[in-house]
């Protein structure tokens, strides 16, 4: 039968996001192979249409979408773009379901303002603001039930300049105001950071109980870990945001990564399903596995499969979109319910800001991870934790 086409714009050549996109593509490929082995969708095989994209350049994003449109894809699955709006515009007339892991409130905000135009755009993970919003909640949780004894109630934020980090930092500051922690200092840095020395010096001067390093480059995090271990701020809880989720972080930092915490709003759970996926993935793609976009790519493909099977004709884009909007799906990264004014997956745990879920199984959980013995261990939310917070090497 005629195959169903899934467009996967994948960054292959640009300087940014190649690793994440490779993860996404691998996850999608795995799902495609499984689906086709199981007889396809309504008897039609699934086929991927892969095209290159440079996430930083609007021309290139538009061009990638145009290529998908020309290939007459039935849906687009994409990890993320730094400039999503031109891509969304380019697909606005074609209106095939466009599922992504953009993690960007600005993009879902665009949907909220113009729900008709962007009705086909689904963000299958919560927006980045939740990193900030949930941060105090996590701190509290660590304090109350994981044995972290804050030496003071100060929080020191180190922020990079890209929009993503800025948004997170702003959200964190907003949330911290409502908590019993206080922002002691905000240090600005900018990629590339040649030398973390001055930053660590400042961290030591402020001597806050909790430290948030709001950056995005795994390699620089690794460099930070090494320098920090050499000259740490005693007894502080150091949180590294999303960057360490990239697989190379552990290889680069090695021993030095022990004791640091980080989190991701989108990640493969360590529950039964998640573990099964991890096993399958590792078999198909040996080597170190990424834990974020692998699962996302896999989930998107299965989500679409469910939608197509329910609607019947993948060419009825509107019906497929409507089905997706009204029918949540539980994948390896959590429960994607996008029937809300942002059309993004709900975030768990509930932090009081839109869009959140109150139960683990009603949303996509943010995973808080600590590096323990050079391995990532989920320490929070408790519902899916793998280990408890261990004292970091610099705690006495």
């Amino acid at each position: 039968a005629e195959p169903i086409l899934l467009g996967v714009p994948t960054s292959q050549t640009a300087a940014a996001g190649v690793a994440d996109d490779l993860d996404h593509l691998n996850g999608t490929t795995l799902a495609m192979e499984e689906i086709n082995a199981a007889g396809g969708i309504n008897g039609r095989p699934l086929k991927l249409f892969v095209t290159d994209v440079d996430k930083l350049s609007p021309e290139s994003c538009q061009q990638a979408i145009a290529a998908c449109v020309d290939a007459k894809v039935h849906a687009i699955s994409n990890a993320f773009l730094f400039v999503p709006i031109p891509a969304m515009d380019a697909s606005a007339k074609y209106k095939c379901p466009y599922l992504n892991g953009n993690t960007q409130r600005a993009a879902t905000e665009a949907f909220r303002k113009n729900p008709d135009k962007y009705s086909h755009i689904f963000q299958t993970d919560p927006s980045e603001v939740h990193y900030g919003y949930t941060y105090p909640i996590w701190l509290k949780a660590m304090e109350t039930s994981s044995g972290w004894k804050p030496k003071n109630r100060k929080v020191h934020i180190v922020q990079e300049q890209v929009a993503y980090c800025q948004t997170i930092s702003r959200a964190a500051q907003e949330a911290l105001k409502k908590s019993d922690f206080e922002v002691a200092k905000i240090t600005d840095i900018q990629f590339p950071v040649q030398d973390w020395g001055p930053v660590i010096q400042e961290l030591k001067e402020v001597d806050a109980g909790a430290i948030m390093i709001d950056h995005w480059v795994a390699a620089e995090y690794a460099a930070f870990c090494k320098q920090f271990q050499a000259d740490p701020v005693p007894n502080s809880l150091v949180y590294l945001q999303y960057g360490p989720s990239q697989p190379e972080f552990l290889t680069l930092a090695g021993e030095a990564a022990n004791g640091f915490c980080w989190s991701t709003v989108l990640g493969v759970y360590a529950d039964e399903r998640g573990n099964a996926f991890r096993a399958k993935y590792k078999k198909r793609f040996p080597g170190i596995m990424g834990l974020v976009y692998t699962g996302n790519g896999y989930d998107i493909a299965y989500y679409l499969k469910a939608a197509w099977e329910a609607v019947g004709d993948p060419n009825k884009f509107k019906d497929v979109c409507d089905w997706i909007r009204t029918n949540p799906y539980r994948g390896v990264c959590g429960y994607m319910d996008m029937n809300n004014e942002y059309q993004e997956a709900g975030h768990f745990p509930d932090n009081g800001f839109p869009v959140t879920a109150t139960e683990l199984e009603k949303g996509v959980s943010q995973l808080y991870v600590q590096v323990q013995d050079v391995e990532h261990k989920i320490v929070y939310p408790y519902e899916i934790k793998e280990a408890t917070l261990k004292p970091a090497p610099w705690w006495s």
């Binding site: 292959q12 050549t13 300087a15 190649v18 690793a19 490779l22 300049q161 240090t187 600005d188 840095i189 900018q190 590339p192 950071v193 040649q194 030398d195 020395g197 001055p198 930053v199 010096q201 795994a218 390699a219 690794a222 460099a223 090494k226 320098q227 050499a230 000259d231 990239q246 697989p247 190379e248 290889t251 680069l252 090695g254």
Partner: protein, 293 residues
């Protein structure tokens, strides 16, 4: 204490920048090529060192040697492709610029294809230890960096000043025709200059592997830094490059301390622009125009 901290910090940065810029500066001063493939050589030699660490030995000397060697090979490749065929043709500087750009475009994609997008790291070549100097903690790689960079830069400076080869290198770009008349083989010199500067890039790659991990695009940032410093110091003047590195290191340390890290790039480029406006030939710019006499 604060002053001491800023100064050590500036020193660290100056060493990093000096190591980055010196190769570019020599390349320009001798073969007249702005080597935009420098970033590619940087990444390539990182991978060379990484392969050595994976398959040969994690001994610091071996890794360093492998990096320098790969860098030298990379330099020779660039020389063979972008210098030998066009050095005596019209418009060489612009064509060389584009040729090295093309090499870097192709090479980076090849690296991306062969080694994948994920960054790699090298074993600690200087071990893992630290010293505390008056409250300033310096890690082994920083101290190693400082020591090796100062050593190498001094050695290169001395060599350029006092040896026949150094003289040849400086003479070659100014007038290739005259150079051949005094017995300087332009192509041969080109090859060894490019392999030496490639080796320097390799050295920098290995030394800086803790800051710039090895990745296909990991050479871009060091290259931009290196080119700016080399130009700011005055193309072709190793001494100028060293001075520029010190000034920019100091600027960065001060800015980070006094204004905030986000202003580092801004002040840096403002600084370069101001320097160029004051001294249009860079800090130690040589006279690159013969007078009409």
């Amino acid at each position: 204490m604060d002053i001491g901290f800023i100064l050590t910090n500036a020193l660290v940065l100056a060493c990093i920048y000096g190591t980055l810029a010196i190769g570019l500066s020599i390349t320009w001063s001798s073969v007249g090529l702005i080597n935009l493939a420098y970033g590619f050589i940087f990444a390539l030699s990182g991978y060379g060192a990484w392969l050595a660490a994976q398959y040969l030995s994690t001994n610091g000397i071996v890794v360093l040697g492998a990096g320098v060697l790969t860098g030298a090979l990379g330099g020779m490749l660039v020389c063979a492709l972008a210098f030998i065929p066009i050095h005596d043709k019209p418009n060489f500087t612009v064509r060389g610029l584009i040729a090295t750009l093309a090499i870097s475009l192709i090479g980076t994609q090849a690296l991306l294809y062969v080694f994948g997008p994920r960054a790699k790291n090298l074993p600690d070549i200087f071990g893992f230890w630290k010293v505390n100097v008056g409250g300033i903690v310096l890690t082994s790689d920083k101290i190693g960096n400082i020591a090796v960079s100062i050593l190498v830069v001094t050695a290169v400076l001395l060599w350029m000043r006092s040896s026949r080869r150094g003289l040849e290198i400086r003479a070659m770009m100014m007038n290739p025709h005259a150079a051949s008349i005094v017995g300087i083989g332009v192509r041969k010199t080109g090859f060894y200059v490019m392999s030496i500067t490639g080796g320097l890039a390799g050295l920098a790659a290995v030394l800086l592997s803790q800051t710039y991990y090895i990745s296909p695009f990991g050479g871009l940032a060091p290259m931009i830094k290196g080119v700016s410093i080399a130009l700011c110091g005055g193309l072709g003047s190793v001494r100028g490059a060293v001075i520029a590195a010190v000034i920019l290191g100091l600027n960065e340390a001060l800015t980070a301390r006094l204004l905030g890290g986000q202003y580092v790039l801004i002040t840096q480029f403002l600084f370069i622009i101001v320097i160029l406006l004051i001294r249009p030939r860079g800090i130690a710019g040589i006279l690159d125009r013969a007078r009409e006499a």
